[in-house]
């Protein structure tokens, strides 16, 4: 129990220290130290609890709940002040309504000696490792990145103290989310993540667009939060004894009792996981410094959204609500992948691919069968690692080449070989066989096929996965399109940045090779614990996967052979004389460089067009779901 409390409190207390410490070596060292401690404790947690199944911890909730309520009121007051100052009346209204609902619900529920407020099970361990290891590595990376960031943006006020404090509060809140069994507690931490993301997105507060995006993220997440808060009102009205406030009791009560809260929490999860029509906040969030994007996309925030949906997956199994949630996820997967084709801004491509992959997780969780949950959890893991690696490498590249446009990354493999290789590994991890995501896609397909009406999701997945191949491969192609012997740019990348990039790359490869272990030690026990049966890849398929990983890893050795005794000839440039660095003789004798651009097909996969369609369709699904709940309440 101490471990869980430590993981929640330690980053929060460290944040207090960072509020005080000035910029400098001391702070940088402490950030690294704190991150190292969090990683070590997370690993220790894994060792201690990996085989222990589900363990509940009794914590006297009286005092703590009061403190949380107090903090919630303070946070609401702060938000009200900001909302009033910037005339965000809608936000102000939402804050007031939400607080009202929560206080009203609390007055309904006589909190008996609520026990089992904290718990840990294999799924929590997986989430804790994602938060602890990947989140902490991103914090380490930020040390180097933010130093560069403020040299590049000299006119911006340097609020780095604030920045680091927020990062660690964020991690603390995420630990709280995955360890809470008491839904009131979970909701408190949930709202803290909303607040942290709002403040981090608004880091460059002086900029109007930044403020706008931050408020937009806040607004959409508050809508979700309101859905969550309504759960408490429902619990208070149906069961004043407060027993259902415990997640395990609620889940054990089954769909007959828990359908309405599961739908409400699922709705909250959809907003936080940036599913259509709420996806725009995550796209807008990339205005923040890159480590924030990495954190939001990989280990925190959106992962909290899918976490609760996967938690409630057993309730969704073979229900209308579950199927509608799946459809929202499936449509988001297809359309967000499509939008990614039309984007040349690397961070935007990553953002849409995150939205798409979360869609796949949501689609699996909505199906809620054992195979689907197995696939969903593996997807979460692979996506977290690959996406953090990609965001951080894009951040480093951006500082060196001064652009985050994929077209400007032409031939990056020549200019920044190390970072480019890491980026290539990250991209391969996102879509190529035999790497992680593909295993999950395989599992998702199997799960969909066994579900009633699953063939519609199979259609969405089939087209969506074709689209992902397109936009990732053309990005890969840009990276390896080396035309000339370039000057090296890989000087002066800080050790902090390498300190995060290298472990993440190693982790990516390790998870691809070692996923059978991950599956059998953590994912299978969790799924088996709920459903009494579980999905696996099957031994024959496992062997094939391992063979493919081995082949892909060995193949680069053939480069040694292919380097020998080849004759290098100039390229064909329509018969014009061309130099080896790809300049050709243009008209009136001028030497011109060859410029090669990728296809973006904006007329077909344009952002506006597809997001209009997606928002419309998904709003319809969600409206159907909410209408269903209302009918359920009335009936």
């Amino acid at each position: 129990m101490e471990l869980l409390v430590f993981l929640i409190l330690f980053p929060a207390l460290a944040a207090l220290v960072f509020c005080i410490l000035p910029n400098g070596r001391l702070r940088d060292t402490i950030v690294v130290l704190v991150s190292a401690i969090i990683i070590a404790v997370t690993l220790y947690l894994f060792v201690m609890f990996a085989g222990a199944g589900t363990v509940y911890f009794d914590i006297e909730s009286g005092m703590i709940s009061q403190i949380m309520t107090g903090l919630e009121i303070i946070i609401s007051a702060g938000l009200l002040y900001l909302a009033a100052k910037y005339r965000q009346y809608l936000i102000a209204g939402l804050v007031v309504v939400q607080l009202g609902v929560v206080l009203y619900a609390e007055s309904l529920i006589q909190e008996t000696a609520a026990l089992n407020n904290l718990f840990i099970d294999p799924f929590s361990i997986i989430m804790a490792m994602i938060i602890g290891i990947i989140g902490s590595l991103i914090c380490v990376y930020s040390v180097g990145y933010m130093r560069d960031y403020h040299t590049h943006h000299a006119d911006m006020p340097d609020k780095r103290r604030w920045f680091f404090a927020l990062l660690f509060v964020f991690l603390a809140a995420m630990f709280g989310v995955v360890f809470s069994n008491n839904l009131f507690w979970l909701f408190f931490f949930w709202e803290v993540t909303t607040l942290c993301s709002f403040l981090l997105i608004g880091y460059n507060w002086g900029d109007e667009q930044t403020r706008k995006n931050a408020f937009w993220a806040l607004l959409l997440n508050l809508v979700g939060g309101l859905g969550f808060a309504c759960t408490f009102a429902w619990i208070g009205l149906t069961d004043p004894s407060g027993g259902l406030i415990m997640m395990d009791t609620l889940l054990a009560a089954g769909p007959a009792v828990a359908m309405i809260p599961a739908a409400l929490i699922g709705f909250a999860g959809l907003t936080k996981a940036a599913q259509m029509p709420f996806s725009s906040w995550l796209v807008g969030a990339m205005i923040a410094p890159t480590p924030v994007s990495a954190l939001l996309h990989s280990s925190t925030m959106v992962k909290a959204g899918v976490y609760v949906i996967v938690r409630f997956a057993p309730i969704y199994n073979v229900t209308m609500v579950g199927y509608l949630i799946s459809l929202v996820g499936g449509v988001t997967f297809l359309l967000a992948s499509g939008i990614a084709i039309s984007q040349s801004n690397a961070k935007k491509v990553l953002a849409y691919s995150t939205i798409a992959n979360l869609g796949l997780v949501v689609a699996c969780a909505g199906i809620g069968s054992y195979a689907a949950v197995w696939a969903a959890i593996l997807l979460i893991v692979f996506h977290a690692i690959a996406k953090s690696l990609l965001f951080l490498s894009v951040g480093t590249v951006e500082h060196k080449i001064g652009s985050r446009d994929i077209e400007d990354m032409t031939g990056l493999l020549g200019r920044m070989p190390k970072v480019a290789v890491m980026m290539i590994i990250g991209i391969a991890g996102m879509f190529l066989a035999p790497f992680g995501m593909l295993i999950s896609k395989w599992a998702a397909l199997v799960a969909f096929l066994d579900a009633p009406y699953g063939f519609i999701l199979v259609l969405l997945l089939a087209f969506g996965s074709a689209v992902t191949v397109f936009f990732w491969t053309k990005w890969l192609g840009k990276l390896i399109e080396v035309a000339w012997k370039p000057e090296p740019l890989e000087v002066k990348i800080s050790n902090h940045e390498y300190g995060a990039l290298v472990p993440l790359t190693v982790l990516m490869v390790a998870v691809c090779i070692g996923f059978p272990l991950l599956s059998s030690y953590l994912v299978v026990p969790y799924v088996f614990g709920i459903y009494g049966m579980t999905a696996t890849l099957g031994q024959a398929n496992m062997i094939i996967m391992v063979m493919m990983v081995f082949m892909v890893l060995v193949m680069p050795l053939t480069l040694l052979h292919f380097r020998k005794d080849r004759k290098i000839l100039p390229r064909y440039v329509g018969g014009r004389p061309a130099t080896s660095d790809m300049h050709f003789k243009g008209s009136i004798g001028v030497q011109r460089p060859v410029a090669l651009g990728n296809y973006y097909l904006a007329n077909y996969f344009g952002e506006q067009r597809l997001s209009h369609i997606g928002n419309g369709v998904c709003i319809a699904f969600i409206a159907l779901m909410l209408a269903g709940i209302l009918l359920g309440v009335i009936a």
């Binding site: 082949m551 193949m555 292919f562």
Partner: protein, 283 residues
């Protein structure tokens, strides 16, 4: 296990010769359709041998790594298929192989190859949904993804998933690089001035691409055969008819724009997939 390995090895050894024979007859029939005599039936094989005797010329050394990986993974794909493995993994391995081919074209950094690479990507995106939906159809019909189980199914699967068969035949045109969908690169000199995707590949490098194509042809015809696996000879007949149809289409159409290819391939996949899978799911 032993039988599977024998099948895999058999494919690896025999497929290039079968592929070359098919290619040779293809060229013969094509020539007759155009009023020519045509080359000897074993010409594709002679072509490959000749390519390997040529000078090892490249624009960049790395290109060979990608192309070699392409060849290896195409062979792997076919071996997986003919040894009766999971058909989804077969499709994913094929996608990986094609990703390597496209990266090889990108790595040349040449304008014509670059355009070819983009078009090959479009072709990949056009074909992929149909392949996955066909695998889904096999699963819904037989309850298994294993090619072995699908091949041993007592009834011809064509009867349960006829629309998916039509869809596969449609995308076959794209995969075999036949007109009107030979956008990335064509076998015919009259289709393009420069060789698209393969512009910068010469000698042994081009030889590897050609061998990979032989393997791929055999694999795809195997996929067509799978729909009639319970009646092997009927299946063979269907494969011959389908291939003849491909040659006929190849010689009577002109190349279309990529929009037409992508739209038509997706539309076929959507209609075939939605109706056929939907009917299977609801029955």
């Amino acid at each position: 296990m032993i039988t599977e390995i024998i099948f895999a090895v058999g494919f690896i050894i025999l497929a290039p010769f079968i592929g070359a024979l098919i290619g040779g007859m293809d060229r013969k029939v094509t020539a007759r359709m155009q009023g020519r005599v045509g080359p000897p039936v074993l010409q594709p094989l002679y072509d490959v041998f000749k390519l390997f005797e040529k000078e090892k010329a490249v624009v960049r050394n790395e290109v060979n790594f990608y192309i070699f990986s392409y060849l290896i993974f195409v062979v792997f794909t076919g071996a997986l298929f003919f040894s009766g493995s999971d058909i989804l993994l077969v499709i994913f391995a094929l996608t990986l192989a094609h990703a390597f081919l496209i990266l090889g074209a990108y790595a040349t950094t040449s304008p014509y190859s670059h355009i070819g690479a983009e078009r090959e990507l479009l072709q990949l995106m056009a074909v992929e949904p149909m392949l996955i939906l066909a695998a889904a159809g096999f699963y819904m019909a037989t309850g298994s993804f294993a090619v072995k189980d699908i091949a041993l199914w007592p009834e011809p699967l064509f009867m349960t998933i006829p629309l998916l068969f039509v869809g596969i035949v449609f995308v076959l045109t794209i995969k075999l690089r036949k007109s009107p969908f030979d956008l990335a690169t064509s076998h015919h000199a009259h289709q393009e001035l420069v060789k698209g995707l393969t512009t910068e590949f010469a000698g042994p490098t081009l030889g590897m691409v050609e061998i990979a194509h032989l393997y791929e042809t055999v694999f795809f015809l195997g996929l067509v055969w799978l729909f009639f696996a319970s009646m092997p000879w009927v299946g063979l007949l269907v494969v011959i008819v389908v291939y003849f149809l491909e040659i006929l289409i190849d010689n009577t159409t002109t190349r279309v724009r990529w929009q037409v290819m992508l739209r038509s391939a997706w539309l076929v996949a959507l209609v075939a997939g939605a109706i056929n899978l939907g009917v299977l799911a609801l029955l």
